[in-house]
C-alpha cells in the first residue's frame, strides 16, 4: 500500500528526518487559518506520478490566490484520482537536490540502498547517477556511509546524508516497507538537508501487523476483497470468473489470442497474496462476481473457470446452480421479465438489477451465453438443476475457450 506524501512525511517526522513546515488541508476554506507564512506551495495528494506536469502543484503568495488554487486542485483528477487532501508547505531554496531510497530487491532477495546526486524530476539524469549498496547482512551504519561515498559526497555531507539513509533503513525494516524514497532531498546553502518530497510503500502482506499504518488505509482495504484484474476493455464481450490470478491471466490470454476483448476478469477465492480462501468465502465472492458480470450490458459470454479440490468444486457447483436457477415464482416485476425468462437465458439477479435501472429498462437485453468449466469433482447432480438454463458445460479448457470465442460472435 502506497502512502500519500503527507502520510509519508508524518512518518519522516516521527523518525527525525527533517521536513518543511506543512499542513494538510481537507477543504479550501481551511487555508484562511494557515499557520505557515506565504509564499507556500500547494500539492495535490494523489498516488499517481507526474502531478506537477498535470497541474497538481501550485505556488501561491497570499490567501486569496491559495483558495482559488486549492479549489482548482481539488477539482483536478490526476490519472482518474481526485485528491481528498492538499498539502500546503513552505517553500525552500535548494543548492542541490539528491535522491535517496531503500528498496527490497526481489532478485537479490536483499534490501538495497540507492542514491543519486541528481535528484528531482530529471529521471534520466537521476538514473544515470544512481549508486547502489546491497545490505547483505545485518544492517550497520557503514552501509549508509558506503553509499554516500559512492555517490561522490565528501566532508560533512557524508555524515549528514548517511544519517538520513540510516533512519530510512530503520523505518524500512520496522514498518515492512517495499520502498522508502526521498526525492528530492534538498541541500541548502548551509548544507542543511530537507526531505522535500517522499514516497513510502508498505508491503501489503505485512500491513496487518502495523496498526498505525493500517489506520491510514482506506476503510475498505482488505486482502480478501474480490480481486478484479485491470486493463479490461469496456466494450469487451467476454467476462471471466476464475479462482486464481494465474488461471485468470492464462484464460484471458487465450481469449485475447482468439481476438476477443475481455470486459471483466474477476478472481474469486484467492487473496491478493495468492492464498486460497475457504469455500464459504469463495462462494460469497462468486455471488458478488456473478452479480457484477450479469449487469454488464455489452457482455455476450460469461466464462466461469474454476479448478479446485472435490470439496470446493461441489460447493461452487451448488452455489452456481442455486444462483442461476430460474425462480419458482415469477417476481412481480412485469411482463418483460416473464418474456425474458421464457428465453431461459438470464438470471433473476440480472433482471432485478436491469429493471431497477431506468436506463436499461427499454434496452433489448441480449441473452448471455454461459460457459462453465468446473474441474475437480463430479458435478452431474448440479447440472441437472440447470437443465432449463442454456449452459455450455465442459471440463476441457480449450473447448471452453472455443465456445467463448464462437459464442461472442454477433
Amino acid at each position: 500500500m502506497e502512502l500519500l506524501e503527507y502520510q509519508a512525511k508524518s512518518l519522516f517526522t516521527q523518525i527525525g528526518i527533517p521536513i518543511l513546515p506543512s499542513e494538510s488541508i481537507k477543504n479550501s476554506r481551511e487555508l484562511k487559518q494557515l499557520q505557515i507564512p506565504y509564499p507556500v506551495v500547494l500539492k495535490s495528494q494523489v498516488r499517481a506520478g507526474g502531478r506537477g506536469r498535470a497541474g497538481g502543484v501550485r505556488f501561491v503568495d497570499n490567501t486569496i490566490d491559495a483558495i482559488a488554487a486549492a479549489q482548482a486542485i481539488f477539482n483536478l483528477p490526476i490519472m482518474g484520482e481526485y485528491p481528498q487532501v492538499i498539502l500546503a508547505e513552505a517553500r525552500y531554496n535548494t543548492e542541490r537536490e539528491f535522491f535517496l531510497a531503500v528498496v527490497l530487491d526481489y532478485e537479490l532477495k536483499q534490501p538495497v540502498l540507492l542514491g543519486s546526486v541528481r535528484g528531482g524530476i530529471d529521471v534520466e539524469a537521476l538514473l544515470e547517477n544512481m549508486k547502489m549498496v546491497v545490505v547483505d547482512t545485518e544492517f550497520s551504519p557503514f552501509y549508509a556511509r558506503h553509499l554516500a561515498v559512492k555517490m561522490g559526497l565528501s566532508g560533512q555531507l557524508i555524515h549528514s546524508v548517511s544519517t538520513i539513509i540510516e533512519k530510512m533503513y530503520h523505518l524500512f525494516r520496522e514498518k515492512d516497507l517495499d520502498i522508502i524514497e526521498i526525492n528530492p532531498l534538498g541541500v541548502g546553502a548551509d548544507g542543511k538537508l530537507m526531505a522535500l518530497d517522499g514516497k513510502i510503500s508498505v508491503n501489503d502482506s505485512a500491513l496487518f501487523r502495523h496498526e498505525d499504518i493500517l489506520k491510514l488505509a482506506s476503510p475498505f482495504f482488505s486482502d480478501t476483497n474480490l480481486l478484479s484484474l485491470e486493463n479490461v476493455a469496456k466494450d469487451g464481450e467476454v467476462g471471466i470468473i476464475t479462482n486464481s490470478k494465474d488461471l485468470a491471466l492464462t484464460t484471458w490470454d487465450l481469449i485475447a489470442k482468439g481476438k476477443k476483448k475481455v470486459s471483466l476478469c474477476l478472481v474469486v477465492g484467492e487473496t491478493s497474496s495468492g492464498e486460497m480462501l475457504p469455500p464459504s468465502k469463495l462462494n460469497q465472492q462468486l455471488q458478488m462476481a456473478l452479480e457484477q458480470a450479469l449487469t454488464l450490458p455489452e457482455l455476450k459470454v460469461l466464462l466461469i473457470n474454476i479448478l479446485a479440490n472435490a470439496e470446493t468444486i461441489k460447493t461452487v457447483a451448488e452455489a452456481i446452480a442455486n444462483y442461476l436457477q430460474p425462480p419458482i415464482k415469477p417476481t412481480a416485476q412485469g411482463g418483460e421479465d416473464r418474456m425474458e425468462r421464457l428465453t431461459g437465458t438470464l438470471s433473476r439477479k440480472e433482471r432485478k438489477s436491469l429493471s431497477s435501472s431506468k436506463k436499461s429498462e427499454k434496452k433489448q437485453v441480449k441473452p448471455i451465453q454461459l460457459v462453465i468449466r468446473l474441474v475437480g469433482a463430479d458435478i452431474e447432480e448440479f447440472k441437472q438443476l440447470l437443465v432449463t438454463t442454456p449452459v455450455y458445460w465442459t471440463e476441457n479448457l480449450e473447448k471452453a475457450i472455443d465456445k467463448v470465442l464462437s459464442g461472442s460472435k454477433k
Binding site: G49, G50, A101, V103, L104, D105, Y106, E107, L108, K109, Q110, P111, V112, L114, V123, L126, L127, M130, M132, T137, R173, D176, D178, I179, E181, K199, N203, S205, A206, F208, R209, D223, L229, E230, N231, N243, S244, D246, L247, A248, L249, T250, W252, D253, L254, A256, K257, T271, S273, G274, E275, M276, P278, L307, N309, A310, V375, G376, L397, E398
Partner: protein
Amino acid sequence: MNWTGQVVIQGITEAIAEHAAALMGVYGTNIVAGISPGCGGQKIQDIPVFDLVEEAVSQLGKIQTSLIFVKPYQVLDAALEAIAADIPQIIITVGGVPPLDMVKLLRKAQATNTLILGPGSAGIIIPEKVLLGKFEPQFFTPGKVGIISYSDILTYEIALELNQAGLGESIVISLGNNGIIASNFGEWLPILTADESTQAIILIGQTNGNYDESAREYLATEVKKPVIVFIPGLDLPEARIKGDAATIIANQLSYSLPTNKTVKDLLIAFEKVNVLVSDRLSSIPNLIKKLVKN
C-alpha cells in the same frame, strides 16, 4: 533432498493442515508429529501433537522435514524453531509471509545449509510415491515429465494435459508464489536433471515474479533434457516484472520510462539457452512428445 525421513507438521491444528495431513496419510507419508503450542499431548488423525519442535525431536529422533502451516506472521518463528532443532528441510505452505521476514530467514538458512521451499509452496509430489505438502494428488498420475512451478493451479492444469496425453508426471515441485521465495528454478533443476524417470522438464513461471539468473546458466550448460517454459498472461498489459531494485525505482519514478526488463526479454533469454517457450498449455504435451522422441 531426502524424501523418506520423518516429517513433522508445524501448525497441525490449522484447517488446511488437517486436510493435507489426511491426504498425506493415504499416501503413506511418514508424519511422526504435529506441533501446536498449547495442544501438546493431543492427537490429530492419530498424529501425536507436541508443544515444541524440540520435544518431538527428543522423543522421536531425527526429523528430516518440517511442513509449516502456521499463520503467515508466525512463519519466521516456526521456521527458526525448526532450524534450531536441526531439521534440514522446510516446506512453507502458507503464503503472505512478509518479505522482510523471509530475508531474515534466508540469511539464517544459508548459514545452517537448510533447504527451504516456499512461502506459499504446495510442496512436492512424486505420483503414487511421495507426497509432502498440500498438493491434491487426484490431479496427478505417474509418468515421465518433471514440473517446477510458481503456480499451483497451472500445475494442475498442465498435469491434466499431460495425463490426457499419456505422459504423466515424474516429480512435481511447487516453489511458492509472491514476495521473496526461498528457492527457485536454479535450486531444483539439478534434482530433475539427475532424476532418471524425468525425461522432460516443464517450468511454470509467474508474470510479475522474479527469475533467477543462475537457472539460465545451468540450463545452458548442464541440462540435456528438453525444457519447456510457460508463463501466464504474456500478452496482457497486467504482465509486469517486479524484479530488481533499479527496475523498481525506474518504474516508480516515471510511467513513460521504458522498464529495463520486460517479459519478452525474459523469453528471449530463455530461448537463448535452448528452452522452448510455450504460450499455450494444451500444446505442451505434443511439444514434449516430439522432443523426447528425437
